[in-house]
Symmetry: C2
Subunit: 338 residues, 2 copies
């Protein structure tokens, strides 16, 4: 790989931002999208990196997302803050409201952010990491597209419904998990289909509800939730809390409205922020020091913490730059000129 393919994180943020600007996205939003996508590349999460630009441009071209939407914050001073993305991307809406959410959580211990009416394409770790950087614990969830059958069922009804959690650690990366509540991500089945490889048992059922290891049959059928009926229950909770409760789309309606899983999904999201110092105050204990006792003990057993690989990749990328493939460079060039 030539050195010319190595780009700094900051330069990639700017370059991706310019692509969105060129495609009509307002500057404030284009900058946020550039940051989110460059962060995916930086953390070696390629499925949320440059790869995503295509899907974003597709929804822009199809008029499924408003490129100049200005997020509108509704804050009555209570624990529930709302931001209406106005049919734009979710990340600029979160970005606009994050300061209010963090301040409210610090003032009173607990606050929630409702993100409405947005096109959602990014991982949720961005949100919980941003809050962890402010010393807050955070829980984030959203529906997606109905491609998962409930445990014991056969038809797609639930989304891959991601759940993310962040917990601040002093002088280090936060504890962060962010995963789909399906056994696997839909992209992993798609990759196996392209490679002509079977999928593991337990990932999916075919359209008749029978277990299958054929990626084609799985994509025509339904994926399964992780962890059997427990994971199915958690996925259902996400539909209820981050869909029905907000009056935003659940996964089935999200799919119906946008007209097929070929497009990025449109729905809401729920982010809860907790201030551990406020919650622990009456105990006289230091909640972050307590958290460290657990997290270091997990590491001492040789068990890996979630996101460790991502943080390791980030450190390398911030030090040495992000090495893009020739294909990625060509893609960026094409996006900038088309």
């Amino acid at each position: 790989m030539a050195d010319a393919n190595v780009i700094t994180y900051e330069a990639l943020v700017a370059r991706v931002g310019r692509i969105f600007l060129r495609h009509g996205v307002r500057p404030e939003s284009a900058r946020v999208l550039g940051r989110v996508i460059a962060a995916g590349e930086r953390d070696n999460c390629q499925s949320h990196g440059i790869y995503r630009i295509e899907g974003c441009l597709q929804v822009l071209a199809a008029g499924k997302v408003d490129p100049v939407a200005v997020p509108e914050i509704h804050d009555a001073g209570g624990p529930v803050i709302e931001v209406d993305a106005g049919g734009g991307f979710s990340n600029p809406a979160f970005d606009a409201a994050e300061g209010v959410l963090a301040s409210r959580a610090r003032e009173t211990g607990l606050a929630a952010l409702v993100i409405r009416n947005c096109l959602h394409f990014s991982a949720l770790w961005h949100d919980v990491e941003a809050l962890a950087a402010e010393g807050l614990a955070a829980l984030s969830m959203c529906p997606s597209y109905a491609v998962v059958a409930p445990a014991g069922g056969r038809e797609p009804l639930l989304g891959t419904n991601p759940l993310a959690f962040g917990w601040p650690r002093r002088g280090g990366h936060p504890y962060v998990f962010d995963f789909a509540t399906s056994v696997a991500a839909r992209g992993e089945i798609e990759l196996r289909r392209r490679a002509g490889a079977p999928i593991p048992e337990g990932w999916a059922v075919d359209r008749y509800g029978n277990p299958t290891t054929d990626p084609e049959a799985a994509l025509a059928g339904a994926m399964l939730p992780f962890g059997g009926h427990k994971g199915s229950a958690i996925s259902t909770m996400i539909e209820l809390l981050a869909g029905a409760m907000l009056g935003e789309f659940m996964s089935r309606e999200a799919l119906e409205v946008i007209g097929g899983a070929g497009f990025l999904p449109r729905h809401g999201a729920l982010v809860l922020a907790f201030d551990p110092r406020r919650f622990a105050a009456r105990s006289g204990r230091d909640p972050l020091a307590e958290g460290e006792r657990l997290l270091t003990a997990i590491g001492a057993q040789g068990a890996r913490l979630p996101s460790e690989r991502r943080f390791a990749a980030r450190e390398v990328a911030l030090r040495d730059g992000i090495a893009l493939t020739d294909a990625e460079i060509a893609q960026l060039d094409a996006f900038e000129t088309r």
Copy 2:
């Protein structure tokens, strides 16, 4: 079974309450304990029914719980309400604070209850069902005893850490799940040990970290979280949010402090209450009607909703009474006279 063994729910509440009164528990708390234990029997959750009285009397006799503790509510008017159980049982503390929690959630959309310094023995569905009956969604979690190894680890560090969720349904039982984040409940391994039966693969590792199907080796080793690294991450989150964040014991300290898994555990708990009507207000949608679309569609696939069996048992018990075994009757008699 003789008719003499059939008892109404209300009579069982009173009878169990009298047992606790007789063992020095203050009347208000004895009544709550009677209700919780009778509800376990009523719902055919025998592991949380009369069976639990023995363990409660044990901690009372050992001085590990304060029978006359009066729960003390700390409410600064914000979204986080605290109740100090004063070393008593958790249920009377929740009972004392539930009204404040529910009112706060209805006023502002979101509120949390921190339960401190309590002996915990009951299922969490009691709490989320009580809130669902008030039209609120609720999420409840707590640590327990360190008997579960993190995914990829080998030593007990996490508890069976239950997670419960409730969602109100008009004119019917709420959507409720309540499960251990371990693959199985510890009691299920204990039952197999007594029966001389093996446990399924994937439930536990022995003390050397090797997979085992021997219940004895499993009890000497560590149980495993449900759903691999995802379940392990959720269990870790519960330790952090309902242990470290509150400044209350996490599962390892809970075990160390009380001196062995033979006693019921002592720790805190976190309950979040959401008012769907407030969260949905700006959307113009009816959140409970939206929730029904999902829940009825799950049922229409022939998939069972969590707690369905429990609610069916409850309906039978409330109509026909609760049929106790001769052994249970004898046990109640013995508790009342000893």
